[in-house]
């Protein structure tokens, strides 16, 4: 581990380098490095520099507004917030998950698979493929989807169409691509018509072919760069996520499972309504993002990773055949019980993308998605917890309401927050192993961003801010004098100002 690099012993005597903001992630974060006279890294931190409370945005609103309202928290994963909120307010109207009408349950799952598919496609093809196809230290002009479109037009087009298909699933199920009102308290407000079902069926076989091809591609990229890809930013950690009762991969609803770095179970099939008994959050003075940890292991050892790598590591199997075959290959490539390579997030993410495509096809052939029994009712309650596996990991929504149905308390733990400590550890690993002692350049610093980007962080979700700041790299000598300064403007132009 590289925790010793969280705080330097004599920071006042060190050079400071700032990567601000981290690019091709959602939101505004920055990395600071403190270097000694020999350019040896003495401190590395990922900071979150803006904060605005989601909870404040939600409190005081009637609970039935939540599924629509929370979609506006984030432009990247609105459906995940929509469904997590819907699961929480199901409980407010007295409907537990097992009592949700089967058609409503399957429609929500279809909606969720569409969301995860489009989000994973965006991340891989748009944000990460430039690094993976052209190299981490390639010229900055190549690190964009435009360069991928030019060099790999067929691949890039598949990425565009995969993303588009996921958006179409969302549109058909919820009525709109965004601001849809598919899920309501106790169920869904519409089912899929035969015409809508047939429209989505037209392309699903092609989508599965492309999704499978993307898994083959990332496997090839990963294995052709061994051992670098297995070592880069790699940290052995605990992993947490939802799981089905039989141990299968689960994205929509299940119990909480956590495993340690050796693959041993820390907790299993835990009712997420009691998450407060298992997960706590701590704060640090140098960042606005909290640090969640598993209570049973304590603050120092209880931090964990969530998201695709955690889910594929944690599950015993995947119920769709091609994704399961891909999972077996993925696990076999690593000698240990768990795959700890941070860059393996990409591989795991595309296995999930394939699973989503297969699962969408299964659901489209299920007549329940056209059923008309869509809403259940029960006795009013005053507290509800909804948890879902969002594209980036486990997402918690927790609400309390008063006798007038007004939200009095809200607590959200978003996926990126759970990965906060891990992202910091990955940054420190890269700083220590790949940057320390070298002259820093923009391509070299992109290595830090590659490590963070593997987590697909949504810093807007984690900190509730919008990201639109330029990147700024400052190099100072031991006396604090600025000796070099690079600025990357929001349009991507680089300028040396020193």
């Amino acid at each position: 581990m590289y925790s010793h690099l969280e705080t330097a012993k004599n920071p006042e005597n060190l050079k400071r380098v700032v990567v601000d903001p981290v690019s091709r992630v959602e939101g505004h974060g920055k990395v600071t490095l403190l270097l000694d006279a020999d350019n040896k890294i003495q401190q590395a931190r990922l900071h979150i520099v803006e904060f605005r409370g989601f909870e404040r945005f939600i409190q005081g609103r009637p609970y039935w507004e939540l599924p629509v309202l929370v979609q506006r928290l984030c432009g990247i994963c609105p459906v995940s917030h929509h469904l997590a909120a819907a699961k929480a307010i199901d409980q407010l109207v007295g409907v537990d998950p097992e009592n949700l009408p089967i058609s409503a349950d399957k429609l929500r799952r279809l909606l969720h698979f569409g969301q995860v598919l489009q989000s994973h496609a965006l991340h891989f093809f748009h944000l990460s493929s430039p690094d993976l196809l052209f190299g981490f230290e390639s010229d900055i002009s190549q690190r964009s989807i435009m360069a991928v479109l030019a060099a790999y037009p067929d691949l890039a087009l598949q990425g565009v169409k995969l993303r588009k298909y996921g958006q179409e699933v969302i549109r058909m199920v919820s009525g709109k691509r965004i601001h849809g009102t598919g899920a309501i308290a106790g169920g869904m407000n519409k089912s899929l018509s035969k015409a809508e079902r047939d429209y989505l069926l037209e392309d699903i076989d092609q989508i599965i072919v492309w999704a499978a091809a993307s898994v083959t591609l990332i496997k090839t990229v990963h294995e052709s760069n061994l051992p670098y890809f297995d070592d880069f930013a790699t940290i052995p950690t605990n992993y947490m996520g939802l799981i089905q009762p039989d141990g299968a991969l689960e994205l929509y609803h299940g119990g909480l499972r956590a495993k340690n770095a050796q693959g041993q179970t820390i907790m299993d099939h835990v009712d997420y309504c009691h998450y407060n008994d298992y997960i706590h959050e701590e704060v640090r003075s140098w960042t606005y993002m909290k640090f969640p940890y598993l209570l049973s292991l304590g603050q120092d050892d209880g931090w964990y990773r969530v998201g695709p790598l955690a889910r594929i590591n944690n599950c015993d199997f995947i119920k769709t055949p091609q994704a399961e075959a891909a999972r077996i290959t993925f696990k076999a490539h690593s000698p240990g019980a768990m795959v700890h390579s941070t860059l393996a997030f990409h591989w795991a993410r595309l296995i999930e993308l394939l699973h989503c495509a297969e699962a969408i096809k299964e659901l489209l052939h299920d007549p329940d998605i056209m059923g008309l029994d869509l809403v259940a009712k029960g006795e009013k309650r005053y507290e509800g917890v909804g948890v879902i596996e969002a594209p980036r990991g486990t997402l918690f929504h927790h609400y309390q309401v008063d006798e007038n149905d007004i939200v009095t308390k809200a607590n959200l733990i978003v996926s990126t927050t759970s990965n906060n400590r891990a992202m910091n550890e990955s940054v420190r690993q890269v700083a220590a192993e790949y940057l320390s002692g070298r002259e820093l350049t923009e391509p070299l610093l992109n290595n830090l961003e590659v490590a963070i980007r593997a987590y697909d962080p949504c810093l807007s979700c984690a900190t509730h801010a919008m990201g639109k700041m330029p990147l700024q790299l400052e190099l100072m000598d031991a006396n604090g004098q600025l000796i070099d300064k690079l600025v990357k403007h929001s349009n991507g132009q680089i300028e040396r100002l020193a």
Binding site: P21, S23, R24, V25, E26, R52, F54, R56, F57, L69, R72, L73, G75, I76, P78, L122, F125, H126, L127, P130, S141, R143, S144, I145, M146, L149, A150, P153, A156, L157, G159, V160, K161, R163, K164, Q167, R177, I178, H179, H464, M466, G467, K468, L471, K488, S490, N491, G492, Q493
Partner: protein, 159 residues
Amino acid sequence: MIKPILVFGYGNLSRGDDALGPLLLDYIEKHCDLSKIELLTDFQLQIEHALDLEHRSLVLFVDASVACINRCDFSPLTAARDKSYTTHAMSPAAVLAVYVSIKKQAPPPCFLMSIKSESMELGAGLSSAAENNLQQACLFVKQLLQQPTLNHWLQQTSY
């Protein structure tokens, strides 16, 4: 049947003046003949929106802009690889560039309606200045859509 004119207003209704694009769509929906006009909204522009440009004769993007010089500006768009890759959001010019890359042809005539905005805080309402700017933009776009020809739109551009 794809409608020949696309009006694409993007932004987040719950982020103050960022709502200007979607709010202009609300106005068009109530005040314009939509038989040949499709309205589309999203939080931000993305790669797949290039596919929404297919088979259109005119496209109008509508967005809030803190950099807008006048209360609202109307300008033609050209495809550009402008490196707007550092966030999840793309510029209209970059979306057009994606269209050129994947379709191997020029995009349909596209224009941008920028409406001057002040702040985009989560949970904030529309600022009074933005509300006034929106009114002017709505009237301008309504007039544009009454005469949806390339020549007319080119004559109306701000610059």
